[in-house]
Amino acid sequence: MKYPCLDLDPAIYAWNARASGEDPSFDKLSIYASGSGDDELTDLEIEDFRRDFENIVCPFMEKYPDALPKSQGGKFDALIVECVYRFFSEILPVEALSDLAFWRWLSIVSSRGYFWEFLLWRFPNKVQINWGIAPPADAREVYFLRAWLRGHLMYDPDLEDPLEYAKKGGGDVWRSHILRQEFGRDREFVKAFLDYLEAKKLSSDELRKKLIPALRAWTALGSFAHLTYQECATLIENLHNEGL
């Protein structure tokens, strides 16, 4: 399926038009299609996604009409993972879903700016990177791409709920301690890490000041890629209790 793309310059223009309360002029957007096939993803298909998405978002928006409080961010981000992952993985290949230009279109242009407004509610500080206005090296910081990626990295057909681990862990844990870390590249390690956090209910301080530094220091000496879940779990516990 072909998919719509928005380049960086028109994205900056469109983002600012929306920030001024205006609809961006279609002529200035130069939206183009990438990918292959006869079908093309349009706003019509996105409406199906939007319906499912709204079912999750609406209760939060009713409770917090101005902006989502930071304290609710992690919980909320986990709730949308399944909806984002399943919808987009079914219709587009990984190459398209790694393309910032697609996520920019979704976040800024599609659905008459519904997702732009949603992101403003989620990130009232207006950091544009969440809308996809970012260099390619920062792709994992883009909000919807990140939600899809949680599902993509953790999908495990052998589990009763294949997305069990994608839904575990708060937004901050995923952003700071998984997606930005080298040890976040290994699925079995991430599973063991998320289970450990859940079981131990570590405070943010304990996590940031003790466990993460120990894991990072260990990464300099070794690799987790080839370890089983159980080996990762034992290692995490040992490093947490005894340090490097």
Partner: protein, 322 residues
Amino acid sequence: MQSEISFNVRRKDFYIDDVGSFDGFVAVSQDPEKPVSEEETLCVEDYGFDFKNECVLKVRINPKAIKLNNDSLVNLEDLQVVIVLTDYCLNKRIVLFVKALEEIGGEQDLNYRLNELAECSFSNGFEISVFVTLRRDRDRANFKIWNRSQVVFLKRFTARISHDEALFQVNWVDFGDPRESNNVILKTRWLDSNVSILPSFEVVQVLGNLRLREQFVRLESNSHFGHFCLKNMAVPLVSEITWRCLQLANFEKDPEQDSLHYQVLALCQKLDLDADEIRRAALDEDSQVRANTLAMLNARVQSLFSVGGDLATIRFGGYRTS
């Protein structure tokens, strides 16, 4: 009197770094037409390069090249080789190959087509890591002495897109207030004080005046004085971000990787400055100390960007060839 003494252990002090020589053990090529090489940078391409369809990996391993030290506590038959492939864009790692060294015997070539890996995009490139570690059936009880995750040899081969490790990205926005939108080009907005934990874009935003963006782009592409002007705009921003970051930084722990603090420490190294010294000066009660240190920092940033050197080479009075 100091109540605490700190000791550092450097990587070279660890036993596992002195197991023996692995020269000639592994070589890689990303193009079957090219010979394999031990060079760790396979290629650096512009964004948009199709790594997935253009690259076919050949990994050559030769266990016979390994020479373990006589006093090494480990034997070749205890070890296995592991080859893993990382997709940089997705932060995803896949194990491609695991085999005991003694089962490989002599030189072996392994070929991998990236386009056969449907779960990866490789949009930002990839890394192929080859490491040697203890075999699964040789694990020891004491994890600190010998754990299967520890490696006795590791080599990373990278193919990636070119990108700058920028201290900040500019967010182009409408400044609104005419006093600013008519006269200001760039300004900062501080969002959070957790500089040792959060990445730069979550801590400080550099806002660009949307109204002037087209002119800014024109200036950027002006070959005569564009870069000189841009560098002059960047100097106060870099100084401010460095100064404020060091004031807010937590120096009791290592900063998170990719946090603003982490980036600023790297910058201080380039500036040949002791970050801790700057921090102490930035927090000094004496305003004279603060002012002079900030002035010195500003001068160092100018020096790093060679703004004086650029001015010296600008040609004035027309550009006709003589």
